[in-house]
Amino acid sequence: MEKFTTHSGLVAPLDIANVDTDQIIPKQFLQKTERIGFGKHLFHDSRYLDHSGNEPNPDFILNKAAYQGASILLARENFGCGSSREHAPWALEEYGFKVIIAPSFADIFYGNCINIGLLPIKLREAEIEQLFQLAPDAQLNLEVDLPNSKVSFTNDAGKQVEFNFSLSKFQQYSLENGIDSVGWTLGKLDKIKAFEAKMPVWQ
């Protein structure tokens, strides 16, 4: 996994609550046995007018000229609900997103993002609202600083605004160091073996 420390990028605002992983990557694109090839199908049903994905929907946020090259997705509550498919964060990452900001995330999606090095940031409702107010009019660029757990931008008055966020200690460590989580746990084999040795026989 790549290390994540700081990131600076353009924000694309997706002003819809309860965006589920079926919307992020519909089922017909889950038939791959590889980990690549999902980005072009991200948000397929909203992003394209036709079933085969040749006609971009001009009304969809990611198709608008102002948001080309966006690497930070601003979303509403309960983002990533539904199916556990890791294909959803894979698709977001392959499209070019490095950071997803929302007031709340579904649990499985949140964990899946961390596990692939895509940073999910929870901010307070009022902060999210403020970003939504700014993003449609201005080209909102955010600075994301994981080691200091803050998001910052310069407002219209030229003033620096900062929002703080937090991750659990180990999740933050994992992202900042890009650790191989399986390898890390395999370093604990003695502990696992000791646990197994005292399990009841029926288990």
């Binding site: 609550a17 079926d22 089922k27 609900c81 556990s84 498919r85 692939i116 029926w202």
Partner: protein, 472 residues
């Protein structure tokens, strides 16, 4: 020294804690891992890349369910992409020594139907699967939850997972439900009350007289939809109903070991004074038959009511969600639920495809058949049993004949139209009464509209062409 009263979740957590360091996410042992063709191939690929074995292949069981045809047991019947994944699963299971219930195997079925009916699902265990409806197994008092593919790989290699501790929520359903109210109505009513993210960050324990009165299959229906209001997992305390169900199942412990297990399982229930982070109480008698009208499972109402209007909600985000949902669902606020017509019916999925579900649906169908009524000519209705065992049982009881004679299509087991990864897909504009678990936009096919209901309601809708209050 004081002893602290514990919830069932805390006991399950403690019993599986391999390591709990201040600087690391706690490490939990995983007893049972269910896998299928869609969310496992990339995990196997990474094992190969790192040259790592599966630590306990005997603790993993594979089935083919998501991608398969419900018309043919041929591996190629659901298209090239599906066949590639199914063949990859065969090869991966062979290479890594994992037992697989492949196409047409007597044990094949939807993972969450198969596990319980084979006795692979046991109280007091941690069960994971790369599928969000793994919560189903919580009906046994096992901590069961869906995981992503990176976690599937982690479980393969280490038989453990890292998990932050969730908060606990108690949902008590007091008293007895009215006649004809199903487990599906109970869970939809709960979600209607909490909203689609009401339990995010929580493990939910369902309790109360109405829950205790449920059969194991009904408890599975309730726990299955825990994820639909954001819960990490759903739990029901194991009791005699649970032990009787597990006893004698193919993979369940036998003899003295079973007795010892029951002893341990009896200790799992939440202590009397255990404190939950949140408590929700419902009166069972208030629960009516439920129908979703929107595009999240929380957008649900009673059969005797009307489609709501955005102005019925105070929260601006909910207002906007209602507006968008009505537009997508092509519904007008104020329409009576019983006036909504459907042209497709799907009875199946890990929520409602077990033998009791099929019996309940067949009963309704029979009551109409007795009056000379059958499936409306404008409706296509399919019945997809959850497993080959369910299919065989249903056929031995003649249920398939009741359905076929009334004009339903009797299909082969699989996930089918719940997510439409195979060819059981709705087309744009279709309106479906579905016993599945998600009514998301496009879930059953781009532009299609899903109403989540019980098997009884779905059966009646197939025959009358619209939703019916069966209890009036």
């Amino acid at each position: 020294m004081t002893t602290t009263a514990k919830t069932m979740y805390e006991k399950l957590w403690q019993n599986h804690l391999v390591e709990d360091l201040a600087d690391e996410t706690p490490l939990l042992f995983v007893d049972r891992h269910l896998i299928h063709e869609v969310t496992s191939p990339q995990a196997f690929a990474n094992l190969r890349f790192h040259n790592r074995p599966v630590r306990h292949p005997e603790r993993t069981i594979a089935t083919m369910d998501h991608n398969i045809s419900t018309r043919s047991i041929k591996i190629d019947a659901a298209g090239e992409g599906a066949a590639n994944q199914l063949r990859a699963l065969e090869k991966n299971c062979k290479d890594f020594g994992i037992e697989l219930f492949g196409m047409g195997h007597k044990n094949q079925g939807i993972a969450h139907v198969m596990g319980p009916e084979l006795g692979l699902t046991l109280p007091g265990t941690i069960i994971v699967c790369g599928d969000s409806h793994t919560a189903t197994h919580g009906a046994f008092g096992s901590l069961a939850f869906g995981i992503g593919t990176s976690e599937v790989e982690h479980v393969f290699a280490t038989q453990t997972l890292r998990q932050n501790k969730a908060k606990t929520m108690k949902i008590e359903v007091k008293g007895q439900v009215g006649k004809g109210i199903s487990a599906k109505d109970i869970i939809l009513a709960i979600i209607g009350k909490t909203g689609s993210a009401g339990a995010t960050g929580y493990v939910v324990e369902y309790c109360g007289e109405a829950i205790e009165a449920l059969s194991m299959e009904e408890r599975m229906t309730v726990c299955n939809m825990s994820i639909e209001f954001g819960a990490k997992a759903g739990l029901v305390a194991p009791d005699q109903t649970t032990f009787d169900y597990v006893q004698g199942k193919e993979y369940a412990p036998k003899g003295d070991v079973f007795e010892q297990a029951v002893n341990d399982w009896q200790q799992l229930k939440s202590d009397e004074n255990a404190v939950f982070d949140a408590v929700l109480t419902l009166e069972a008698k208030d629960i009516k038959a439920q129908v979703t009208w929107g595009t999240t499972p929380g957008q649900v109402t009673s059969i005797d009511s009307k489609v709501p209007s955005p102005s019925d909600f105070s929260d601006p985000v909910e207002q906007e969600s209602c507006k968008q949902a009505l537009e997508y669902m092509d519904l007008t606020a104020g329409t009576k639920i019983t006036d909504i017509s459907v042209n497709k019916v799907f009875i199946g999925s890990c929520t409602n495809s077990r033998i009791e579900d099929l019996r309940a649906a067949a009963n309704v169908v029979q009551s109409y058949t007795d009056k000379g009524q059958s499936v409306q000519s404008s409706v296509d209705a399919i019945i997809v049993p959850g497993s080959y065992r369910v299919k065989a049982q249903a056929e031995s009881e003649g249920l398939d004949k009741i359905f076929s004679d009334a004009g339903f299509e009797w299909r082969l087991p699989g996930c089918s139209m719940c997510l439409g990864m195979n060819d059981d897909v709705l087309t744009a504009g279709d309106r479906c009464a579905s016993t599945s678990n998600r009514n998301f936009e496009g879930r059953q096919g781009r532009g299609s509209r899903t109403h989540l209901v019980s098997p009884e309601m779905a059966a009646a809708a197939a025959i009358t062409g619209h939703f019916v209050d069966l209890n009036t």
